[in-house]
Symmetry: C2
Subunit: 351 residues, 2 copies
């Protein structure tokens, strides 16, 4: 078993809930909490070159990872990075245009897989591990550090389409036409993601999250083949390398199919998107920790609606293993005062 | 009660299933079946001016509505039109750019509602009714004619954002910040949609479908407030005007929340998107007719995968009230031979 720096730390509140405890107030962090809604992030972003330069710069990436902790005292920091670091490290061209989203040189079929190089990726990941180590050495002892990757399916949808797409048609069509060829891409992503996550844990990440943002559009058969099975495979390989940290699975948009995802993968917590029914969350909470669900747009709106929705979620999750979070990433338009109020509401502080 | 031309016709196979019969083979039609995958459609489209010109041209719109019936002998024709005819008729500027999707002059808040004019809309709808009447007079007697509109929520998302948007953030945010103002827009859409659908039925539509393409992203509370309640309202007003034709509700992306939608709205059939679980479809089929679910991309892929998925869906729905359809609109890249094969597979014809 790999000994990781975080073994020496007392478990954070997040890790305690992931290990089975019920805590009140629940631990809280926000997806994309190091991001454009923070003026101090925008200041660093302006100093960095490209967005990917920032992801690969251990000093600046560590700085932005810590910003939301310093400002709001969240219970967990999440590594500042992007799910497209993996295809980039593998050798695919990846660029980010302001307001346009990512653009990749598309991988159009099995023949193009030769362009991807696992050993090159392993080397490029080292800068990310350095960021993790820097963050862990600075982070307050009681704050968890979350490492992450995109799930193979979700990363593949970008690699194949060359961009984000509303229906992930390019990857889905490849998978229908040539499942064996598409499986090679998925297997390669599983292998490189295991390497990447194990490296983050060795560098100090105490929790992992797997983002499967585009799981929701798939029919049952494809959800099983391209979301659930690769995640099972990824986790088995991670465990067999001696990585024992808890894993949060976030398969966005799967709704009432989340209990099947949970049963098959055995993740330690389920990320719940905004559209997940309260009844499905409660069903999941019978056997695992649940995280998320608050609409990021309610956090933009603020006011009575924010207070009401936060209190309603807290009330519904009382006595459950609950990690407070949004149902999706915080959006750039979010006023920082609303985030401060959210944290105060959760912690029962005077607001 | 309004006497409609279709009262004189024997019920079509689609109407028989919607009224409670189980038919084998099931009736079949495809969402967006009059569209760009057909060369004869592209030929007419090139002759028409703008896309909206085509929607408002009774002769050409009737011609393209009939094209897929002539070619494939589907059990139902669906009026060729667009859900954005309603905002356009109400006075909002709407344009369609090739490959870009719709662009509208956004309605940014309650103050902008003054721009919308119900009586003007009523007048503009007459050209659509003329299309319906033309189609009905030409359509084989055994073929159903489906009229439709977008559900108020889905239409509002375009009206507010000025375009399609992956997360419908603009409408959702308005609804959080100013539910009373947003409700005025929804009420106005309910009112104009009732008028529009009643007019289509009076002109000869024997079945109606309500497309709520963007229902899936909403949390439970908002699904209830902006999808289910306006649909209940719309149907109640339609019934109180003496419109008794069956209604198919298609709330895309709601997954296991579809039974709640069904119970509240009392629609005569549920449209099932591609991601809907087989188990939810079977649950729905206990009390209503179910329609859809085949992935449009499987129809693009064709081959063994198409055969397998069609047979699997038919087998699962044997003995149920089933209408064969896709889980979403047919895509332009679909080979017409795959559509011919689909119909032959469903009807057990030699392929």
């Amino acid at each position: 078993m790999i000994t990781k720096p975080s073994d020496a730390l007392p478990p954070s509140r997040l890790e305690r809930v992931l290990a089975g405890e019920i805590l009140s107030p629940p631990p809280v962090w926000l997806m994309r909490q190091a991001g454009r809604y923070l003026p101090e992030y925008r200041e660093v972003r302006a100093r960095a070159g490209s967005f990917l330069d920032l992801c690969y710069d251990p000093k600046l990436a560590a700085e932005v990872t810590l910003q939301p902790i310093n400002r709001f005292g969240f219970d967990a920091a999440i590594l500042f990075s992007d799910i497209l670091v993996v295809p980039h490290a593998l050798g695919q061209e990846v660029g980010f245009t302001e307001g346009e989203g990512p653009r990749l040189d598309p991988i159009a079929g099995e023949a193009a897989l030769g362009r991807l190089d696992l050993s090159q990726a392993t080397k490029r990941y080292e800068r990310v591990y350095e960021t993790v180590a820097r963050v862990r050495s600075t982070l307050p002892r009681e704050t968890a550090l979350i490492g992450f990757c995109g799930a193979p399916w979700t990363v593949a949808t970008y690699m194949v389409a060359g961009r984000g797409s509303p229906d992930q048609a390019a990857a889905r069509l490849w998978a229908y036409r040539d499942p064996a060829g598409f499986a090679r891409l998925i297997d390669l992503l599983v292998e490189s993601s295991v390497e990447y996550l194990a490296g983050q844990v060795a560098a100090g990440a105490g929790v992992l999250q797997i983002f499967d943002s585009w799981a929701g559009s798939l029919p049952d058969s494809e959800l099983d083949r391209w979301v659930i099975r690769p995640t099972v495979d990824l986790l088995a390989r991670l465990r067999s390398r001696g990585v024992t940290v808890p894993v949060i699975g976030f398969a966005r948009g799967v709704g009432a199919r989340a209990p099947s995802y949970l049963a098959a993968t055995g993740v330690d917590a389920i990320g719940c998107d905004t559209a997940m029914s309260r009844s499905t969350m409660l069903e999941l909470a019978r056997t695992t920790a649940v995280q998320g669900n608050l609409d990021p747009l309610v956090l933009v709106a603020g006011g009575d609606r924010l207070d009401r929705d936060v209190r309603s979620l807290l009330a519904a999750m009382t006595g459950k293993r609950h990690v407070f979070n949004l149902g999706h990433g915080i959006v750039p338009e979010t006023p920082t005062e609303h985030v401060a109020r959210l944290v105060a509401l959760i912690r029962g502080e005077r607001v």
